[in-house]
């Protein structure tokens, strides 16, 4: 017999009884996230803001204070420094240079390289250089937002097509909740928001939806099986029946993500943080947002709607 089990038998968690406190918590978090995003804004990476980024490895632990004043004196505008994974790894962000001279960015990179070689000698290694011009950064941002928008619409249509319209609306509300809360986390922690973050957001959407659809599937099945059960109890029952699966999948995904977070830090740290948060929020929203909203939207059994009677399943 297996050594471990979260739930001995089908649990009886009264999810629906908690729907009002949960709704308040969700609403507060969403409003706070939106407020944060609009006031504090996001720490946009160069993908979306334009500018230059360099990853440098120095032969001895870098003294960021000294470096900051050395590089700040080059007259390149804002130069931001950050330790990156190890004390010898430094991330340098250079503000977008003047638009008139298309060569200005290259010159800025050359200037920083020359200064660093002066300080550390030839052993300093330039591990990565990225430059994104203003034209492209605008396009990348639009494309990212479009991907997100289209994904939500496509999902609404698919779920609507496979279930009833209420399910589609609920799924999209839950996804919106997840996306907003993730953006809120990025605004709060000042983690860099870049192309990889957009990828993470879309993956979160995929994951959370996966969760929601599994639950909806069970609700639909139970709607046919228990014709007399009140809707609140029916949804509760469906959530409880799928709870073990919800938790096990969440845990395995988190295990893989935590391994990624600890080992493959650096360049994809933001991505893994977003995903870990997304899995937690996505699981929460499937249980406490999607299902209760279904109740609020007045979902009815198929055979209660006269037009659908003919299609009612066995």
């Amino acid at each position: 017999m297996p050594a471990l089990r979260f739930l001995k038998s089908t649990p009886k968690v009264p999810f629906m009884a908690w729907r009002r406190p949960a709704a308040i918590v969700s609403a507060v978090l969403v409003v706070m996230s939106l407020a944060l995003a609009f006031t504090a804004g996001l720490n946009l990476g160069i993908d979306f803001r334009g500018g230059t980024l360099m990853e440098v490895r120095t032969p001895e632990p870098a003294d960021l204070g000294t470096l900051r004043s050395e590089l700040g004196g080059l007259g390149l505008g804002e130069v931001a420094l950050q330790e990156f994974g190890a004390p010898t790894d430094v991330l340098i962000r250079i503000e977008r240079q003047s638009a008139e001279d298309s060569n200005a960015e290259a010159l800025a990179v050359e200037a920083v390289k020359a200064r660093l070689i002066e300080i550390y000698g030839d052993e300093v290694s330039f591990r990565r250089t990225e430059f994104v011009g203003p034209k492209v950064s605008g396009e990348l941002f639009t494309a990212g937002l479009m991907a997100l928008g289209f994904a939500l619409v496509a999902i609404l249509v698919y779920v609507w097509f496979r279930f009833e319209w209420q399910f589609g609306v609920c799924a999209v509300i839950a996804l919106f909740h997840d996306v907003v809360l993730t953006i809120g986390l990025f605004s709060l922690t000042r983690l860099e928001f870049n192309l990889a973050t957009i990828a993470a957001l879309l993956t979160i959407v995929g994951y959370s939806l996966n969760d929601t659809v599994v639950i909806f599937d069970r609700i639909r099945e139970n709607l046919r099986r228990y014709k007399k059960l009140p809707m609140t109890e029916l949804i509760d029952r469906s959530l409880n029946e799928t709870l073990a699966r919800t938790l096990v999948t969440g845990v395995t995904t988190l295990l893989a993500l935590v391994a990624l977070f600890i080992i493959a830090g650096g360049a994809i740290r933001g991505f893994t943080v977003a995903m870990i948060w997304g899995v937690i929020v996505g699981t929460y929203s499937s249980l406490f947002v999607a299902a209760p909203v279904l109740l609020a939207l007045n979902l009815r059994r198929e055979d209660e709607t006269p037009t659908k009677t003919a299609e009612a399943g066995p």
Binding site: E110, T129, A256
Partner: protein
């Protein structure tokens, strides 16, 4: 349903074995794999630039410059044509994106239209859509006495397309003269070029190669006027002021030359250019084609003892004195060269001039050591991720967990095989996608096992529970995975570079996990059941 036909077993087993064989080359180095016999699988996963190191550049072709050049040429053509047609006009010139002039007598409109039609080329036959690629290169409008010529939409499109094609060719020759660097050079949209050079450590060198149009021209130097006179608007007609390429310490040109506008010979007539030495100084030697050689011979014969200027992109490289007629069609360019810069100039001249300047819109360069670090970290994270997930599944589901882990392992092998065969590019986010699929791939198994547990708890016997478990779970698995596939497809559509790679790995992972969960897990469960015949399921 639990009975497995031998052919089913063979088919599924064969497929898994096939995937395993296709995945094997990835365990060896590129050179080892290349030495294998030709029937052995040799495709390996391509590592993206962020994993193997290299430079990615997005370049924009400055079409405005080309259009302006075109319009300037048109102005001089119109001037000649109107003069010979004896039409009175004034104010002929380029204004914004149009050429305009005023007619002295509006009654000339008919003649002018005929004259302009002569100068207005028609499009070439369009082989795909039939008809002409465009009607006329310019739209001509005559309102009262004002004549306006603007490039037509079709003319502009054709121009952009040919300029981009030419630029692509020149970029290819400049970057990959020897054909050994395997760069990716692609057209993107109407006016962009994507350039990816694996292994390139020095993007500045790349940008130096692409940063100049390298238009080479030879002009006679005019010594009858000084630079100051010309700057003040004086001097003879047909001369211009061109700065020298050498700069003083503060970055201004050392001198300015007064040269004739007329191009005596141009770089288009070059057939070869090589770096060499003259009196122990690096120089660039060149050779003209027949036309160039004849022109060059004529000029040098007529102008012995005078100075002629070698001009590259509106800068004078040098202005040597013609010592004797050069009729052999070859010569050298002297100047303030280092061995490196002579090499570079020779390469640029061999590759030909770019039709328009290029601007760098985006650059991403990753050093090879960072790439190697990322691959190593990704591998360790993958292994640890698999071990953690496997341990959890076995603890939680016992023997069924072992089955799920077997399916998961084959799932991974299939992803690797698919990526190798498709020649897909694995990027850093792609590795993340793979590790993530691991966690999510077990979901299908979890759905099935939980369903079986439920059915067993409802009082079904082992066979009934397994059967109903698979039946009930499959529909859910498909519904939930299709939605994730939708998100992945949109990522692929709108994402760029590494993000696209992530979408590909994620999609392959989802499809593979559906196969392993629905088909492979069922096979393994059936085989196990037939062997053990348990009274109750150990789940």
């Amino acid at each position: 349903m639990l009975r497995i036909a031998p052919w089913q077993l063979a088919a599924i087993g064969g497929l898994c074995l096939f995937a395993l064989i296709l995945a094997i080359p990835n365990l060896f180095s590129r050179t080892t794999v290349e030495s294998w016999p030709s029937w052995a699988p040799q495709s390996q996963i391509n590592l993206g630039l962020d994993l193997q190191g290299g430079s990615h550049l997005l370049l924009e072709v400055d079409l405005d410059t080309v259009v302006q050049d075109r319009l300037e040429t048109l102005v001089s053509d119109i001037r000649v044509a109107l003069r010979s047609a004896r039409v009175v006009y004034r104010g002929l010139g380029v204004r914004g994106d149009a050429v305009t002039f005023q007619l002295g007598d509006p009654a000339d409109a008919g003649t002018v239209r005929e004259v302009l039609d002569e100068l207005n080329p028609r499009g070439t036959p369009d082989l795909i859509r039939g008809g002409l690629t465009f009607d006329r290169e310019y739209d001509v409008a005559i309102e009262g006495s004002t004549v306006t010529l603007r490039m037509s939409e079709g003319g502009l499109e054709a121009l952009a397309s040919s300029v981009l094609d030419q630029s692509l060719e020149v970029v290819r020759r400049r970057i990959d003269e020897l054909g050994t660097r395997e760069p990716v050079i692609q057209r993107q949209g109407e006016d962009r070029i994507l350039l990816q050079v694996p292994g390139e450590r020095d993007p500045q060198a790349l940008k130096r190669l692409l940063g100049q149009t390298a238009r080479l021209t030879f002009h006679m130097v005019d010594l009858s006027a000084t630079a100051d006179e010309v700057r003040a608007g004086g001097g003879p007609a047909g001369v211009m002021l061109v700065p020298s390429i050498e700069e003083t310490v503060d970055g201004t040109p050392e001198t300015e030359w007064v040269i004739r506008r007329r191009v005596e010979v141009s770089g288009e007539n070059l057939v070869d250019a090589q770096p060499s030495f003259d009196q122990n100084r690096p120089v660039v030697s060149f050779r003209f084609d027949t036309t160039g050689a004849r022109q060059f011979g004529a000029i040098t014969t007529e102008n012995v003892g005078r100075l002629f200027a070698i001009v590259l992109d509106d800068r004078v490289i040098s202005a040597p004195r013609i010592q004797e007629p050069i009729t052999g069609g070859s010569g050298i360019i002297t100047g303030n060269f280092t061995v490196e810069s002579a090499n570079e100039l020779a390469l640029l001249l061999r590759a030909g001039a770019l039709p328009a300047p290029l601007t760098v819109l985006e650059e991403r360069t990753v050093g090879p050591d960072l790439g190697a670090d990322s691959v190593a970290a990704g591998e360790i994270a993958g292994i640890i991720g698999v071990l953690l997930v496997a341990a959890f599944m076995i603890l939680y589901y016992g023997i069924f967990g072992v089955i799920a882990v077997t399916a998961l392992t084959l799932n991974l092998i299939m992803i690797v095989a698919a990526l190798s065969v498709l020649g897909a590019t694995l990027t850093l986010p792609g590795i993340a996608g793979m590790v993530l699929t691991l966690g999510m791939a077990v979901d299908a198994n979890v759905l099935i096992f939980e369903r079986i547990r439920e059915e067993a708890a409802n009082g079904r016997g082992p066979i009934g529970a397994i059967d109903a478990g698979f039946g009930g779970a499959i529909r859910t698995i498909i519904d939930s995975n299709v939605t994730t596939l939708i998100a992945a497809a949109l990522l692929f559509q709108f994402g760029s570079g590494p993000v696209k790679g992530f979408a590909v790995t994620l999609s392959i992972g989802i499809v593979a996990s559906m196969f392993t969960a629905i088909v492979l897990t069922r096979l393994l469960v059936s085989l196990w059941y037939q062997r053990m015949r348990p009274k109750a399921l150990p789940l």
